[in-house]
Symmetry: C2
Subunit: 553 residues, 2 copies
């Protein structure tokens, strides 16, 4: 037996994110044709049973061959003489309160229990997975399903025995953000994305559902917003769609963090409520917004404040999670300076724009507090404005990874979402028309290798480390929709899954992209087998020969 | 009636590539529910009848709504009062020799007739398409099918009448190159790509079928090359696959230019013929090759020269086209300097390496000449080596667009394939492992806007202009396979289709990306409707509002 991270050849370990502790062997262990998963959980919730069922389906259908030159052919000689694993027993250690995965997944960060232990003997004796929560069992099932390959109909592992004494996440927030406003993504796309997220133990779906370009969210209390603001009647998330997505996510250990970005990034609200939008489609848009079309909520207008708090309430109340994002990025002051209504309202209330923004934010965050929810905002709300924000506010750092330290110094909790590491859309060229330069604003392309070097604690003092909740990669969708969703997101978005779950290798060393590459190939090929069109990272020649395409090989 | 290129709003014209001459109107013309295409061609070949059938299918199933805010809803009021087009008559002007499209498509460049004329009255009177070849008729059918939108079941044009007195390509070679060696693409992927190529009148499929990483081409005379060199038994192009692809392409007006790259880029041949490969998988690969694995044909060894000429002959003879590429890029001399067998053979023949390369090339090109075919080579064969090449050789310029002038000065015909404009793989990060920088060698991403500024005659004198056959965009597949084929290729590869077919606007002005953008959206959305996952170029908000997302809007 040896530590798995030395096992580069020939048995590259497929686990992702790499567990906290791990020992593996070199035995072949065949999965019995009668393999069963025994659920030793009293009153096992349905979503746990469903997860068990999905696990068995993956084992039967992944049909993933090992990424070695012979794809496993030479393993076959050992199949007959190898022990067969007949069962996996999953056990809940704390049975006083057995909750569905979906309930555990949407708890507040400090209450989420995702850890588990897993032991797979190389003798054929039953494997055992145990955890303190159904969510932990789900994470362990995910790990279990990554250990198996198929050759000629036989499902087997080549690294038995496997022992994971402890595996639990370094950070509670491991997310992926999808913008469904610039371009629309059907529900099936989102569900497929949630599945892929769950395979690498991502647990937060940050749903940037609306923006200036379209308002696909249909809310019973505000039906007109989608009726007038969606791209079409078929490009809408109905209330049942939202519930469907939230339920689907939660059953896979994923909390949905919805964002309705305010007061900027709201131009399309003018389609149904022109009275609430300043500088609606004003020209030149470059004066009034970071991208077309211009238009922002009249944050100084009492009726608009009421409208917005009502909207935030209507959206937040349908979600089970404890957090909701009110956005707050890229507020444009020229828009308000030139808006007569805003100027009049500021004058009558005797407020500055900054004071009005504070009142506006207090109102929306107050609405969330009434629902028992905490606000999430983009970094400008604490770094560029002087607002009175509760310290239960979570701040997403996006402009630069360097800004995390400033946010920490203000004692706010942080989600790392830096454009310089984690923006998946960068590097594909400018989408603005008639642009002589034509480059992406956040060039270059954020490679998986670069993202993998992200240090969540860079410039964060040990006394501030508790403020770092985790992080996420993000897809802004100006140049994306169904056509390229899988290929632009996967396997790259698995990088933050490992950065924030594993944080380091089982041997205690820092994560190392050279070590990770072969495992990432495995993630990618398994995703493809499961119907997610993750891109190739290298020629297949290289994928089958770990290390031989390294620069120094 | 007005010239179409002024018709930016509201009736953006969908034609791509933009015809040589064009006038359009502003009338609605409905396609009759009994619309027929009358084929006024004696003994019409089956592939023409099939093309007519496909055209009718596209008209019935494209179901593409206009890219305007109301998607065509306001057009519907005019449907009842508008004339209906009951038929299109297609006429061959020269009926002395009626050949299949497939035959016309694979003729030598100077003999290809792709022009046509098209007139669509706005009265309901029959539309007329005429040409001097079935290939020309096919191009005209492609244009016809781009003119129609659908709203609520009604198929209609909003720019009738349409008159194209003349449309013919500025350049005879308009290609797309696909590398199927670094990663494999199934036949279905290639056929879908050929369909998309035909929709924008691309006419050369440059099939870089083999390289150092895999040899997926199964040849009856050399079955061992794929048996040992393909990634797997399922990742092979069988002889019938090749015939299938060649026939499918030709019926769509596309000639297949196959390349077996020699003498470099051949490492995988060592799997079946180690005797022919020098520096096979030598380490460090950086000394012996531009990418792993190292390995080149022993160009100085008579048996290897015989083997290679046999191989080139075996591949070229199954293809109907007049050209075949023997490659010739990135020859590594260190590989031969350190290869004892090569050094011994050079010594015994008294040749320098350069002389041996000349003999090798004479042999492979001689084999092509015996088949009545002309050689195609990469630019190094004329710019970095001193070889005696026939001036019927076609040279692909790839290292830099600046090198075209040097090739022209040597009086060789040119296909523009410059990495600084047309490499679709650039900008996605480095794929070589353990690379601290991690950037793509040909950063940045080649945007459609940049590619569209390519000038085929830059630095080419008027007396040399006849040497420019055309050009192509290229997909090297180190980081691509089925997962991202459509999204990395389309709609970008449509850019060279317009650069080399249209070359200028119908008004005589230079091509202009700002004018082209709305039409390119249309290309993209129509491709998606036809099952090709072309990427979004902008937020849908912008796609529906041409010009409003321009930098100066």
């Amino acid at each position: 037996m040896r530590l798995a991270f030395f096992a580069v050849l020939p048995g590259v370990l497929a686990l992702w994110p790499i567990p906290t502790t791990l020992t593996t062997g070199t035995s072949i262990l065949v999965l019995s044709s009668t393999f069963t998963i025994t659920v030793n959980v009293p009153n096992a919730p349905q979503d746990l049973l469903d997860a068990v069922s999905r696990t068995k389906t993956y084992l039967a259908t992944d049909n993933l061959q090992r990424l070695v030159v012979d794809r496993g052919a030479s393993d076959a000689a050992s199949f007959k003489a190898s022990p067969a694993l007949a069962s996996l027993t999953i056990t809940l250690q704390n049975t006083t309160s057995v909750l569905p995965i979906a309930t555990e997944a949407v708890k507040d960060f400090s209450s989420r229990i995702e850890g588990y232990t897993l032991a797979i003997p190389n003798t054929g004796a039953p494997a055992v997975l145990s955890a303190n929560s159904t969510l932990g069992l789900f994470r362990g099932l995910t790990t279990f399903a990554q250990l198996w390959y198929t050759w000629n109909g036989t499902v087997y592992s080549n690294v038995a025995p496997v022992n994971i004494v402890k595996d639990s996440p370094a950070y509670p927030y491991r997310g992926f953000m999808l913008d469904t406003s610039r371009n629309f993504f059907p529900v099936t796309d989102i569900k497929r994305t949630l599945d892929a997220m769950s395979w690498v133990k991502l647990n937060q779906f940050h749903w940037h559902i609306t923006d200036s370009q379209s308002f696909p969210l249909s809310l019973p209390d505000f039906p007109e917003l989608a009726q007038k603001g969606a791209y079409s009647v078929t490009q809408v998330y109905s209330p049942s769609d939202v519930q469907d997505i939230v339920s689907y996510a939660a059953a896979r250990g994923i909390d949905v963090l919805m964002e309705i970005d305010t007061p900027g990034h709201t131009a399309i609200i003018a389609a149904s409520h022109p009275e609430h939008i300043a500088c609606s489609q004003s020209s030149p848009w470059t004066t009034f917004a970071n991208e077309p079309p211009a238009g922002q909520l009249r944050l100084a207008t009492p009726a608009t404040v009421n409208f917005t708090t009502g909207l935030i309430t209507a959206a937040a109340k349908v979600l089970p999670g404890k957090y909701f994002s009110t956005g707050g990025d890229e507020l444009n002051t020229a828009c308000y300076t030139q808006d007569a209504k805003t100027q009049a309202d500021l004058k009558s209330s005797g407020q500055t724009l900054e004071k009005a923004l504070n009142s506006f934010t207090q109102a929306t965050h107050g609405a969330l507090a009434k629902l028992g929810k905490n606000p999430v905002v983009w970094e400008e709300m604490v770094l560029e404005h002087t607002l009175m924000l509760s310290n239960n506010t979570v701040v997403m750092v996006w402009i630069s990874s360097m800004n995390a330290a400033s946010v920490a110094s203000k004692n706010f909790r942080i989600v790392h979402a830096p454009s310089d590491y984690f923006y998946l859309d960068c590097g594909a060229g400018e989408w603005i028309g008639k642009n002589p330069t034509g480059n992406s604003w956040c060039d270059p392309f954020k490679t998986w290798q670069h993202a993998y070097t992200f240090n969540p604690l860079a410039n964060i003092s040990s006394s501030q480390a508790h403020l770092v909740l985790g992080g996420q990669q993000l897809l802004w969708a100006e140049q994306s929709d169904s056509s390229n969703l899988d290929s632009i997101v996967w396997p790259r978005a698995a990088i933050s899954a490992e950065v924030f779950w594993s944080a380091k290798q089982p041997n205690g060393k820092a994560l190392d992209g050279t070590e990770a590459q072969a495992r990432l190939h495995d993630v990618r090929f398994r995703m493809v087998q499961r119907g997610v069109k993750a891109i190739a990272l290298q020629p297949q020649w290289c994928a089958l020969r770990p290390g031989l395409c390294n620069l120094d090989s």
